[in-house]
C-alpha cells in the first residue's frame, strides 16, 4: 500500500519516541509550498487550518500561470488553435480527476464551483424530482451546513422531512439508528465522508449498501475526504460524490461533482446558458450531453487546469504515502494534546483523519486562536459551519487543528507550547 516508501530519503530523523517518520521527506515537500516559508508576527508560520483550505504547491501556481500566459482562450468553440489548446487542457484536467476518483467515464465528472454548489445541484435536479409531500431525506448529525441547508430548503418546499442519523459521544455514526431511519418514505441519503469538525471517517460504503438495499440513492460529501482518503467512487458505489479543489491543494472556485451517468442523464439541467445546449430556437432548446449539460456558461478553465495539476502533484508524492504520514502526525497531535492540562478532545472516533477539535477549560476558543496566532500558529476557532454539532457537544465553539502532509511533528510541538502559553495567560 505504501508505495515508494522504501525509496525515500530518511531526512526526517526522529527526535522523540513518537516521531518516527524516517521515511517521508517532509522538508523536501515543504519546499514545494512557497507560502510556508513566511513569518507570522515574527514567528515561522505553522499552518494547521487545512480543513478550511489547503496551501498550494508551486506546481499548481505554475500550471495556472502557464495556462493564462500561453493557452488562455474560451473552450469548446473557437476553431483557432488557442481555443483547441485551452479545450484540451480543460478536458485533460477532467480525465485526471476522473482517474483520481476512479469514475467509470469522464462524462460522470462534472466541474462545479465547490462542494456546496454540487449539493445544491443534486438537491435541485435530483431531489426536487424525487422527493414529495411526506417523504424523508436522511443526513447525519455531523453534517456541514452546506449538507444540511439545501436539503432543509428542499424539505420545506416539498413538505418532506429531514431525518438525522445520531452520533455517539466519540463522534461515530450510530448505524443501528440509521437502519431504523431507513423506511418506505426515505427518498435520499446525504452523508459526509470525513467530518470537518470531528475528523471521523464515516463507514460510507456500509451507509450506501444499506440505502441501496432499499433502492435509495446516496450523495457523499467528500469536501474533506478527497485530500486525506483514497476515494474510489466505483468501490463505494455512491450515486453522487463531491469535493472542492481548494482543500485538495488546488485553487478556489473549482470543484467536482461525480454522478452515475444513468442518474445524471435523466436529471434536468441545473442552470441554462451557453455550453449546456446543443441547439436553441426560441421554441425549444435541446440540451447538451454529459458532462456539458451541467456546465452552463464559461467555466473556471484555469481552475480546472490548476486542480488537475494538484492531483498530479499529490499522486507524484503518492496519496497512500501522504495519508500514512498524516496519520502518524495526527496520532502524535492527539497524544500531545491529551497531555495539555484542562484540554478536552472533541471527536475521538476510532477511525479518524487530519482533524482534531478541542476545548480548554474556562477559555473561549477565540482567545485560544488569538494567542496561538501570536506564536505564528494558524488554527480555526468557531462553530466550523456545524452549529447543530456544537449544540450536541454543548459548546458554543471549538478550536480545531487540521493537518496536511506538509505539517511536521515539530509544528505540533509549537502548537502545544502555544497552548501552554494560553494557559499561562489565563491562569
Amino acid at each position: 500500500m505504501l508505495r515508494g516508501i522504501k525509496d525515500m530519503t530518511a531526512t526526517n530523523v526522529a527526535r522523540g519516541a513518537e516521531r518516527v517518520s524516517t521515511w517521508f521527506d517532509v522538508d523536501k515537500v515543504r519546499r514545494d509550498f512557497p507560502i510556508l516559508k513566511q513569518q507570522i508576527r515574527g514567528n515561522p508560520l505553522v499552518y494547521l487550518d487545512n480543513a478550511a483550505t489547503s496551501q498550494k504547491p508551486q506546481a499548481v501556481i505554475d500550471a495556472i500561470t502557464h495556462f493564462y500566459a500561453t493557452d488562455n482562450a474560451n473552450i469548446h468553440r473557437g476553431v483557432h488553435l488557442l481555443s483547441q489548446r485551452a479545450t484540451a487542457a480543460y478536458e485533460e484536467a477532467r480525465e485526471k480527476l476522473q482517474r483520481f476518483i476512479n469514475a467509470r467515464e469522464s462524462r460522470e465528472t462534472i466541474f462545479v464551483r465547490s462542494t456546496t454548489e454540487a449539493v445544491n445541484l443534486v438537491a435541485r435536479c435530483y431531489g426536487a424530482r424525487h422527493v414529495g409531500d411526506g417523504d424523508e431525506i436522511i443526513i447525519s448529525a455531523m453534517e456541514h451546513h452546506s449538507n444540511i441547508v439545501p436539503w432543509q430548503m428542499l424539505c420545506e418546499e416539498k413538505g418532506a422531512r429531514l431525518r438525522i442519523i445520531p452520533i455517539t459521544d466519540k463522534g461515530e455514526l450510530i448505524l443501528d439508528e440509521y437502519e431504523r431511519l431507513l423506511g418506505p418514505r426515505t427518498r435520499f441519503v446525504s452523508i459526509v465522508h470525513l467530518s470537518n469538525v470531528l475528523g471521523t471517517i464515516n463507514p460510507v460504503k456500509e451507509v450506501i449498501r444499506l440505502a441501496h438495499e432499499r433502492g435509495v440513492p446516496v450523495f457523499v460529501d467528500g469536501a474533506q475526504a478527497a485530500a486525506h482518503l483514497r476515494v474510489d467512487v466505483q468501490d463505494l458505489d455512491c450515486d453522487f460524490y463531491a469535493f472542492s479543489g481548494h482543500k485538495l491543494y488546488g485553487p478556489t472556485g473549482i470543484g467536482v461533482l461525480y454522478g452515475k451517468a444513468r442518474l445524471l442523464e435523466k436529471m434536468p439541467p441545473y442552470q441554462g446558458g451557453g455550453d449546456m445546449i446543443s441547439t436553441v430556437t426560441f421554441e425549444k432548446t435541446k440540451y447538451n450531453v454529459l458532462p456539458y449539460k451541467y456546465e452552463a456558461g464559461t467555466p473556471n478553465i484555469a481552475g480546472a487546469v490548476g486542480l488537475g495539476a494538484a492531483v498530479d502533484y499529490v499522486e507524484s508524492l503518492g496519496l497512500e504515502t501522504v495519508i500514512h504520514y498524516e496519520a502518524e502526525v495526527l496520532s502524535y497531535l492527539i497524544k500531545t494534546l491529551s497531555a495539555v492540562p484542562g484540554l478536552k478532545l472533541i471527536g475521538t472516533a476510532n477511525n479518524k483523519a487530519s482533524v482534531q477539535s478541542f476545548s480548554m477549560e474556562g477559555i473561549h476558543p477565540h482567545d485560544i486562536g488569538t494567542i496561538v496566532d501570536e506564536q505564528g500558529v494558524a488554527i480555526r476557532t468557531g462553530h466550523h459551519c456545524a452549529q447543530p454539532l456544537m449544540d450536541f457537544y454543548q459548546v458554543p465553539a471549538t478550536a480545531r487543528a487540521s493537518l496536511a502532509f506538509y505539517n511536521t511533528f515539530e509544528e505540533v510541538d509549537v502548537l502545544i507550547a502555544a497552548l501552554h502559553k494560553v494557559i499561562e495567560v489565563f491562569k
Partner: protein
C-alpha cells in the same frame, strides 16, 4: 510591547475571571439579547432607569475574554450616566477599538475603557468588544430585537 500583551491586559483578564455586575436584574426596566453567531458569544444586558439616567445595569451570558471583560467594564462605567452621555461614550469607544481615533482627545475620558485600545490591532476581535455595547444600546432604546454582530 506586542499586540498580544496590549490585548490581554491584566484588567481584561481579571474582569473575564471575575465579571462585575454579573447576573439577572429582576427589577430591570428594559433588557436586550445579543449574539455573535461567528464565535457563539451570547449575552443579555439588563438596565434600570430613572428617567433617562441609568441607575443600575447587569449582564449575563457566555463569551470570550474580550466580550466578557468588555461587558463587565461597561456595566461599571454606565451607572449614573444619561442616555446621551452613554451614546457619546460609545462613539468614542467604538472609534478607539476600530483604530479611528485621530488625537488623544478622542480617547480622553474613556477611563478604564482605554484598556481595550489593543483590540484595534485585531480587527476580527472588534465585534467581541462591541457586542455588549450594541446590546446595551438596544435595551436602552427599548428595542426588543436580538442584536447580532453579523
Amino acid at each position: 510591547m506586542s499586540y498580544f500583551n496590549e490585548l490581554y491586559q491584566e484588567v481584561i483578564l481579571d474582569h473575564n475571571k471575575r465579571p462585575r455586575n454579573f447576573g439577572e436584574l429582576p427589577e430591570a426596566d428594559c433588557q436586550a439579547h445579543g449574539n455573535n453567531p461567528l464565535c457563539g458569544d451570547r449575552l443579555t444586558v439588563y438596565l434600570k432607569l430613572d428617567g433617562k439616567t441609568v441607575t443600575d445595569v447587569r449582564f449575563k451570558g457566555a463569551g470570550c475574554a474580550i466580550s466578557t471583560a468588555s461587558a463587565s467594564i461597561m456595566t461599571e462605567t454606565l451607572k449614573g450616566k444619561t442616555a446621551d452621555e452613554i451614546e457619546q461614550l460609545f462613539r468614542k469607544f467604538h472609534a478607539m477599538v476600530t483604530g479611528r481615533t485621530e488625537s488623544s482627545a478622542d480617547t480622553a475620558n474613556l477611563g478604564k475603557l482605554a484598556v481595550f485600545e489593543g483590540v484595534s490591532g485585531y480587527p476580527v476581535r472588534v465585534k467581541c468588544a462591541t457586542l455588549p455595547w450594541h446590546t446595551m444600546l438596544a435595551a436602552l432604546h427599548h428595542s426588543d430585537d436580538t442584536v447580532s454582530t453579523e
